[in-house]
């Protein structure tokens, strides 16, 4: 199968499966070619979408599977179709709780509350109902508290390929140190320039 032919098949399959997406493994299985060829085809296809101003769609890897999506630059054109353009975004409290769960999973509600210094029942309920977090087990010991973790929908909602793609957790202490080092260097530079 030549690569143009393969790309057209990949495109057709991804079009049909829509937001369910397909992984490299699945594509290889259905098209009966090696995963390596699929990867090459996907990346070539993506390059062609991105480089062409004629195309309104592109490829995106979300939660481990490839999906055909519209290009971000066209959001305004599409919003006119949508009845309720104000997408229900998460509140500051929900985002805070979600950040803690994302980086510290599996984690209990009590642990989240200790860290925030504030009750977090409601934000957690919101996140569960929006399928962004779910129960991933029970803690040892008395009470067998629910342990929470993030879902596949979480990755999709934030446009992430996997949890490894989460931005690194800012390290406050490190930031302070860097500032101090910078300060030292500028001072040193000044002194050096004066001499």
């Amino acid at each position: 199968m030549n690569s143009n032919n393969l790309m057209s098949k990949i495109e057709a399959l991804l079009f049909v499966v829509g937001d369910e997406g397909m992984s490299v493994k699945q594509l290889a299985q259905y098209l009966e070619v090696e995963p390596m060829d699929i990867e090459a085809g996907l990346s070539e296809l993506q390059t062609q979408y991105e480089e062409s101003e004629v195309r309104g769609i592109t490829l995106k890897q979300l939660a481990g599977s490839y999906q055909i999506t519209t290009k971000p630059a066209l959001a305004d054109a599409i919003k006119k179709l949508v009845e309720n353009p104000t997408n229900q975004v998460l509140t500051a409290a929900s985002l805070e709780v979600l950040a803690i769960i994302a980086y510290k999973q599996p984690i209990t509600r009590a642990e989240v509350e200790d860290l925030r210094g504030v009750k977090s029942e409601r934000p957690i309920a919101t996140l569960v109902s929006r399928a962004l977090v779910q129960e991933v087990g029970r803690a040892e010991g008395t009470g067998r508290a629910i342990l929470y973790g993030t879902t596949k929908e979480f990755l999709n909602y934030f446009g992430l390929k996997s949890l490894q793609e989460l931005p690194p957790l800012p390290d406050a202490a490190q930031a302070e140190e860097e500032q101090e080092t910078d300060l030292f260097l500028t001072k040193f530079q000044e002194t050096f320039n004066q001499n």
């Binding site: 499966v17 937001d19 971000p72 949508v82 803690i100 860290l115 934030f158 800012p170 406050a172």
Partner: protein
């Protein structure tokens, strides 16, 4: 100095403290307790509309600040303490608070990073999968993984709501009276009967108004509980399949009335 403070501007006492530390340009590793405590207390006075359950947490923090402040004022009487316990550099009463603040600050910053990602992702649209069930051979449809829990249901519902957002009604519908779970139980069972006892999860939601969608979802959970329907998940796709187990639901409807 006092001014209006909106409660929802802060997501908790630690958040308020960080705000004050930032505004007063305080070094977090060397907090002037007297100043921070008085500012903090002024703030919670200004928050007159504190909701009761959150007020308690702000007050606990105020008490903690006062305790730290007073511990820092305590003189150390040499006679009372064993010399060996006196470290050259005794533990700073502020230490625990600073640790908590720094830890909390990390996640607050991570949350704003997530918010950026959320905004970016909202610029991108996808479409629901095409329905190929009519082209599928029977035996392929029976490849099921019968392990569906409430989280799978919620996840399917969440996806459905997102897809519905893209469907703008062509004309405004006249406001309908609210439907009940009981009525909807009949409707869902009828739909399943007409489809030969099997339907995709999304096929049971041909509505565009949120209230009906939610009621239908609750109805499905109710029918699952009463074992009128069985929900399965295919290996290939995430979409759930709903199977009718029982055609006559007269008894269930009666029981439902008794319980509600």
């Amino acid at each position: 100095m006092s001014y209006e403070v909106k409660l929802d501007a802060f997501s908790g006492p630690l958040d308020l403290l960080l705000h004050l530390i930032h505004r007063l340009e305080i070094d977090i590793y060397d907090i002037p307790m007297a100043e921070l405590t008085s500012q903090y207390i002024d703030h919670i006075h200004a928050m007159q509309t504190l909701e009761l359950n959150e007020a308690s947490e702000y007050l606990v923090m105020a008490a903690t600040l006062l305790a730290i402040k007073s511990r820092m004022l305590l003189p150390i009487h040499e006679g009372e303490i064993d010399e060996s316990e006196l470290e050259v550099d005794g533990p700073d009463p502020r230490e625990e608070l600073v640790t908590r603040l720094i830890e909390y600050k990390k996640y607050k910053e991570a949350a704003s990073e997530l918010q950026v990602l959320e905004t970016e992702r909202a610029q991108v649209y996808t479409k629901p999968p095409s329905d190929l069930s009519e082209f599928m051979p029977e035996e392929q449809l029976v490849l099921f993984d019968a392990n569906v829990n409430v989280y799978d249901m919620l996840s399917a519902f969440q996806k459905l709501m997102r897809r519905k957002q893209l469907k703008k009604p062509l004309h405004t519908r006249v406001a309908r009276q609210e439907i009940s779970v009981k009525e909807q139980m009949r409707v869902v069972v009828d739909v399943l009967k007409n489809r030969g006892g099997r339907a995709m999860f999304s096929e049971l939601f041909p509505y565009d108004d949120k209230a009906t969608l939610v009621v239908t979802f609750l109805t499905l959970l109710e029918l699952m509980k009463r074992q009128v329907v069985f929900v399965e998940q295919q290996h290939n796709f995430d979409d759930l399949t709903v199977l009718l187990q029982k055609e006559d639901i007269g008894d269930e409807l009666e029981q439902f009335d008794e319980q509600n």
